[in-house]
């Protein structure tokens, strides 16, 4: 009974604190993710004020948070949107994967962490934060910009790639042999493709199970189905997150729209719990040694993201300024990187420094990314672009007189 009282006090105080932090972050125009992570660091093992009774609660809440993050992501897209986008955006997605996953993997090898850590870190550096980037685009009034679809389609491809990558990581982390790993991957790819096909063909039928008009039944039904499928997916070693993502994809139309509205507050709650939990699991004392490596990794992979966006925008005929906007807009990493690192925490074959490194890395990119996204709007950057354009115009034409 006493434990229960402590739990209430701890959870209540922490949520209240997060609420205040969220308000603060909005006021200074920042994503709340870094503040939640910092809060987690402060209250975790070795932090300022370790929480004891509520650890289990946060562990379960974090699990639900990941599931909700992913199902909401799936709800944002229809299956046909994902697949329709695939063909046109695949080259950009490929550039994105190569330029951003490889530096992460290479970094892990350089640190001598072994290939399991390399696979995980590749994912951490690869995926941009859809949530943060969509927010920044809206805040900067760039939703109408002509390079914005380029940015969004890179994000869509990443999300789709995650549906294949997460099961792979889950299999790798389960410590299965190469043979077992490839079977698990085969099962995962098969499941994902099957669900996509079912979602495209019978998405309407699945959605018809729910009535968009009855909010209570819809909330319980969609949440139930999501958690159920996530659980089944996890027991098949396909990763609970992917199961949830696929449920989101399969739902469409009015059901998806209404479910998004109903689940959003829940997602906000449990996603915050998830970020805190990730911070809780990291000992702040582990942070300082990885700070410099994380900074180096952030600088390199933020540069490769800029290159990704630049090339992707160039490919569809966007002019120079738009290419820079696309590149500088893609830099923040966030929820997905933490989800990936979160899967790896405590697994065998994972360097213990990986989690603190991922935390520091996400903190750096999610804070500086949105700030750097504003650079293309500054007068000095525009002037620099003009000088560059002028120089390029003059170069190929030597004076003729």
């Amino acid at each position: 009974m006493h434990d229960f009282t402590v739990l209430l006090i701890e959870v209540g105080a922490l949520l209240l604190g997060l609420g205040l932090l969220g308000r603060l972050s909005r006021r200074i125009g920042l994503s709340p993710i870094p503040l939640y992570l910092l809060a987690g660091l402060a209250f975790g093992h070795g932090g300022l004020l370790p929480l004891s009774a509520s650890e289990e609660f946060f562990a379960v809440g974090a699990e639900i948070g990941v599931i909700l993050l992913l199902v909401m992501l799936g709800l944002e897209y229809s299956a046909s949107e994902l697949v329709g986008n695939l063909r046109s955006a695949a080259p950009a997605g490929l550039i994105d994967g190569l330029l951003n996953a490889l530096p992460g993997a290479a970094f892990a090898f350089m640190m001598g962490w072994g290939w399991v850590s390399a696979v995980v870190l590749a994912g951490v550096t690869w995926v941009s934060s859809s949530g943060v980037i969509a927010k920044v685009l809206a805040d900067l009034g760039r939703l109408g910009n002509r390079e914005t679809p380029v940015i969004l389609s890179v994000l869509v491809i990443e999300d789709l790639a995650m549906a294949l990558y997460l099961p792979l990581v889950t299999a790798v982390l389960a410590g299965t042999s190469l043979m077992g790993g490839s079977i698990a991957l085969g099962v995962a790819v098969f499941t994902v493709v099957l669900v996509l096909v079912v979602a495209i063909k019978y998405g309407g039928a699945i959605s018809a199970m729910f009535s968009p008009k009855d909010p209570e039944a819809l909330l319980l039904g969609v949440l139930g189905l999501t958690v159920l499928v996530a659980g089944i997916a996890a027991s098949l070693k396909v990763s609970a997150a992917v199961g949830a993502f696929l449920v989101g994809i399969a739902l469409s139309g009015q059901v998806a729209h209404n479910a998004t509205e109903l689940l959003s507050p829940l997602r906000d709650l449990f996603a915050a719990v998830f970020f805190v939990f990730f911070g809780l699991a990291t000992n702040p004392a582990d942070m300082p040694p990885v700070l410099l490596p994380a900074l180096a990794l952030a600088v390199v992979t933020m540069a490769t993201k800029v290159l990704t966006g630049y090339l992707a925008a160039k490919r569809v005929g966007i002019a120079e300024p738009g290419r820079w906007r696309a590149g500088l807009g893609l830099m923040p990493r966030g929820e997905f990187s933490i989800v990936i690192a979160g899967l790896a925490v405590g697994a065998t074959g994972i360097a213990p420094q990986l989690a603190p490194l991922a935390t520091a890395y996400v903190l750096i990119t999610v804070v500086t990314g949105p700030l750097l996204a504003r650079v293309p709007d500054t007068p000095w950057f525009k002037a620099w672009l003009r000088r560059r354009a002028a120089a390029q115009r003059c170069e190929p034409l030597p004076a003729t007189d």
């Binding site: 944002e76 760039r142 939703l143 910009n145 869509v156 729209h257």
Partner: protein, 166 residues
């Protein structure tokens, strides 16, 4: 005459429609999933960038569509002249020598004298819908008038300076 409207999907957000005007400016509308609409105006120097992104509520979008749509209807109205029996539409230009150049629409007292209404004025490709009595004419304006044959002839005479009553 047909305007080419480009439609672009914004995955996860909604749809963008945009068009290039004859004057070389790009204008668009971003429709969000939740029904919100943003009016978007593009930069002249950097056609990929929007300089203004104006969120509109349902009512505001409706009102704006009404205003824009009304002037379009006036343009189409002149095509209807044969269809409405007895009621005609005519475009009458204001010659440089008209006594009403620089004067107010109300001064013509056209409606009371001829029972024909001035429903719009075309000025340099722009349509000024439902001009009010304080509207000042300029040389070269084209006035869209709706009325009976005699009414239209009356307005024509007034604007040309051949006042039937004067």
């Amino acid at each position: 005459m047909r305007v080419r409207v480009e439609q672009t999907a914004l995955p996860g957000i909604g749809v963008r429609h945009d068009l290039l005007t004859t004057s070389g400016r790009r204008v668009g509308v971003v429709t969000h999933r939740n029904g919100r609409r943003d009016l978007v105006l593009y930069d002249e120097d950097d056609p990929d960038a929007s300089v203004a992104d104006i969120p509109l509520t349902d009512d505001e979008a409706d009102a704006l569509a009404d205003i824009l749509g009304a002037s379009l209807m006036l343009g189409q109205l002149s095509g209807l002249r044969q269809q409405a029996a007895g009621l005609l539409t005519e475009q009458i230009s204001i010659p440089a020598g008209s006594p009403y150049v620089g004067r107010k629409l109300g001064d013509t007292k056209a409606r009371t004298r001829t029972s024909a209404s001035i429903v719009a004025v075309l000025r340099e490709r722009e349509v000024i819908a439902s001009p009010d009595p304080t509207f000042r004419f300029e040389a070269g304006d084209v006035v869209v008038v709706v009325g009976t044959r005699t009414g239209l002839d009356g307005v024509s005479a007034i604007l040309a300076g051949n006042d039937p009553d004067a």
